[in-house]
Amino acid sequence: MFTVPSLSDLNLAATLPATLLALGASVLLVLDLFVPKGRKALTAWLALAVLGVSLIVALLSLGDVVDLGTGEGAFFGLYIADSFTDAVSVIVLVTAMLGVAVAYNYLERTGMQRGEYYVLLLFSALGAMLMGAAGDLVTVFVALELLSIPLYILSGFRWRDEGSEESALKYFILGAFASGFLVYGIALIYGATGTTAFGGIWAATRDLLAADAATKYVLLLGAGMVLAGLGFKVAAVPFHMWTPDVYQGAPTSVVAYMSVAAKVGGFAALVRVLAWGLPDFVLSGQSAAAWQSTVWLIAALTMILGNVVAVAQNNLKRLLAYSSIAHAGYILIAVAAMGTAGVANEAARAVVIYLMAYAFTNVGAFAVIVAVERDDGGHTDIDNVRGLAKEQPVLAASMAVFMLSLAGVPLTAGFVGKWFVFKAGLAADLVPVTVIGVLTSAISAYYYLRVIWFMYFEEGEGKAQIAWPLAWGISVAAIGTLILGFFPYLLSDMARGIALAFGG
């Protein structure tokens, strides 16, 4: 019998970080209409304030450990408020704040300054947060679109510029294509299990396997299509083709934000779907979840292709695009590890740790490109940072930190991330793919160090334009990268409470 819900059933308090962000973004959309054209700094500050408030709330609830069985669900289980949600929220909000700081001056000097930029950024951050909080495939789908649609628009933000429009259209068409796959997969999962809630899917999977019904192949197909849809978001091979072109064409400040936000959202949803919904989806005769072998294969391909192709790149934005593909591969090792019973929680923690480290590092690296780039969007080749160290010693030093962190050199955040990810891979007995990860990291050192070499040891006219908000953004990112590298327990503490899998 249908019972009429009451307001308190929604458990609104548990969703506070997301609700505040949604409210703030909506209000800012209207407020911005009354901010005169030359004073968009106000909009940017307000956006920062909204993100800051939400970040504080998320940080305050980070400590509590919530058990899923009795855990706080809100909106009838559509929204889950546990440690994983909070950790993802913190990562997304930090990224978004850095994104605003990086963007302001860049937009000003390239003539793109419009209030909508910040509003769209807030909405897409909300989407990424909700993907981490999803307790139901409906939430995953709606949040994915909330994350993606603003990003399509932001990619085309350099209005009337061919490259930007092209990248927006390409991102849009391929993104919509991928979400078609995702939602078809969701429909199949719903058909096989009769529910869209992860808890229900988990329970139904067991019955399905026990009954040995043919329906399990429907579920397998559905899971595969969901994997493809989310794989597109995180730029995993073979769904990566859009990445270099979109990253090159879109405004660099947008790329700085979206290269991290889209990944965080995509991986958060992957963790939810795979580690919570389908951890026990073990076909007969296998010891790990049915999706594990596919995921580690994708991980291996992604790492190899990303790193090998990055070596040949001369445009910094393209280089970082392939590097971001490669990093998706490293994280996928941990995702694959979630398929082994007993390792799921450790692997989920590794994903979160990696993403936090990656957020600081990658936003920072793109922020340096923002500083180097000229007003017309050109000047982003590796030649353009020749001799940057003489002209801008602090900027070059920051870039060096980011490059070392991306390469995974010890005492940087990137090393900590890789450490935990490889550890999870070994714990799950995924030795070959972990070895590939280590080897390809060695390859990656070549092209990261090449950037440093160009900055420090080549003669040239490396120039940059830095203004205050951008300088703050880069400094915070660089300091964050170093602090997390020196004090890894900050990261592992943040992830400590994560216990999401029934199978874990």
């Binding site: 249908f2 009429v4 819900p5 009451s6 307001l7 909506s26 959309l29 209207v30 209409l33």
Partner: protein, 119 residues
């Protein structure tokens, strides 16, 4: 059982063309034909037609179309709500108020941006 349902579909397919063809044939047969140039012209609500029908529309149409496209589908959520309204009580009212408020935010935005003006 299944056959009965399909009989109706079959009847529909048979009767549909008949209903379409008969009136046209009747008017062809009965109506007097005295064409003049004015009668042959394209009909534009009585005004004299300007140019060809195959021309490009102004960009404003697209803006309206886009705004319509977005707002129009939101009704999908309102119909079920309206149907079950009596049973749902205050909770659903509250939810719908929030939903409509969000739409109002979007409406205010389009309005202030001048997308509702025909300029």
């Amino acid at each position: 059982m299944i056959l009965n349902e399909w009989v109706f579909v079959g009847l529909f397919f048979l009767l549909g063309p008949v209903l379409l063809v008969v009136p046209i044939a009747l008017s062809k047969w009965l109506a007097p034909k005295r064409p003049t140039p004015i009668k042959q012209d394209a009909y534009e609500c009585g005004a004299e037609p300007v140019g060809l029908a195959w021309k490009q529309f102004r960009a404003e149409y697209y803006i309206f179309a886009l705004v319509f496209l977005v707002f129009d589908v939101e009704l999908v959520f309102m119909f079920p709500w309206a149907l079950a309204y009596n049973k749902l009580g205050l909770f659903a009212l509250f939810e719908m108020v929030i939903f409509v408020l969000l739409l109002v935010v979007a409406l205010v935005y389009t309005w202030r941006k001048g997308a509702l003006e025909w300029s």
